[in-house]
Symmetry: C2
Subunit: 234 residues, 2 copies
DNA sequence: ACCTGAACACCGTTCAAGT
DNA sequence: ACCTGAACACCGTTCAAGT
């Protein structure tokens, strides 16, 4: 139980403090460990004070997601920006930002709906894609292609680790994977050294500790090259 | 409180029953509404019986995710399969499967780690990508590119709706979006009719009720075209 | 405006006991 | 093996009251 000084002895809490303390707690212990009560303790305050600033837990988590997204430093867009280079730089920046807060990423994945702080991101992506030749409803499709690809891919990379409690389950899977039948799954069996622990759905460690750098590099190559082809086909 | 017949009067519960009842409950009411106790009620059983079959809640959710993934009907792979067509068909099948159970998808997104039932998927994707010209560590990268793209994109499309409780918040965002400054965000403002409610991060409805069909079509075009370019560059 | 303090309904999980 | 029954520690949230 944290020490709790009386309200008069310190400046009043702000919403921004609540949100960044929540993010710090999530970064440290994961999102499942975040509790309105524990957060209040960290802030030296009663749980109801958190409610006053944050509304409720869902709203607090949404605010944390927005705070993280706001940390994203977009590459500048100017006249003559190379759209392919810009998309590569944006993808790198997005990945760096999400890797800095991997524990909140699964929550962000479930909240990709309505994010006010995304306006600059939206505007930049649209501007750049227009120079690639997309317009009208195809501009929206291209935007969704890019955003869904970049963020969705990183969400997958950063999906949560199995908990410690699943240690034996993980071990069992590992064994089952290494004894994959060369007759039923020959290509898998032949490529095990490259795949095990490195391929999506065949890993037991999150991308936060085992980043998939070369795969992400190829994914971005594919995105940019594919966009170029599709833009030309208009 | 559901009627609860005594244990002797009905056949014993199975793990499969527990898992599919959990999925049915999630499909109906969402994942937040699923409670070990409510699930037990649906099954006409005490909560501890659920624990006997499913271990704990995290394991139950993992089992539900695996069950959904097992529903995925992969297109057949044979000699002479066109890799581009196969990837398109697989992407469509994956999307259909996830759209059939949108409420569990955010959980799947956070669990994309270790999924035994994914072996056939892995084997098929690897086989097909080899015919496209990928080998060794680049085969793993190409696999991650495809899986991360297809599933990640759909995760984004199916991210959860804001709850009813956020109705006024949603309304406020909608208003803010429609009054987006043409000077600060000109391209956004000019394309609002296409974007509002249809672009990732600018929507207030999930892809389960408002599917992003044309965007997904373009995304798949981009993926396949980009893979072809990158494969050639080897 | 901002916070304390107490309370309510509910939840995941465990343990002992039954059959 | 499979389930009942009771219990524990904890949680999100609300409401009234203080300053």
């Amino acid at each position: 139980m944290a020490e709790r000084r009386s309200a008069q002895q310190r400046p009043p809490l702000t919403r921004a403090q609540v949100v960044s303390e929540a993010l710090a707690a999530i970064d440290a212990d994961g999102v499942d460990a975040l509790t309105m009560r524990k957060l209040a303790d960290r802030l030296g305050v009663y749980p109801t004070a958190v409610y006053w600033h944050a509304g409720n837990k869902a709203a607090l988590l949404a605010a944390v997601c927005e705070h993280v997204l706001a940390e994203l430093e977009l590459p500048p867009v100017h006249d003559g920006t190379d759209w392919q280079e810009w998309i590569r730089a944006m993808a790198r920046a997005a990945r760096a930002t999400l890797h800095a807060h991997p524990n909140i990423v699964p929550v962000m994945g479930g909240q990709m709906q309505v994010v006010p702080s995304s306006f600059p991101l939206v505007e930049s992506v649209l501007t750049v894609l227009r120079t690639a030749g997309f317009e009208g409803s195809r501009l929206t499709d291209a935007y969704n292609t890019v955003i869904g690809f970049v963020f969705g891919w990183i969400f997958g990379e950063l999906s949560a680790e199995p908990t410690d409690a699943d240690a034996d389950w993980t071990e069992a899977f590992r064994r089952r994977l290494y004894s994959a039948s060369p007759s039923a799954t020959p290509v898998l069996a032949a490529n095990l050294p490259h795949l095990a622990g490195q391929a999506l759905m065949l890993r037991w460690e999150s991308g936060s500790t085992h980043p998939l750098d070369s795969s992400f590099a190829m994914a971005v190559d594919v995105l940019v090259a594919g966009l170029a082809v599709v833009a030309r086909a208009t």
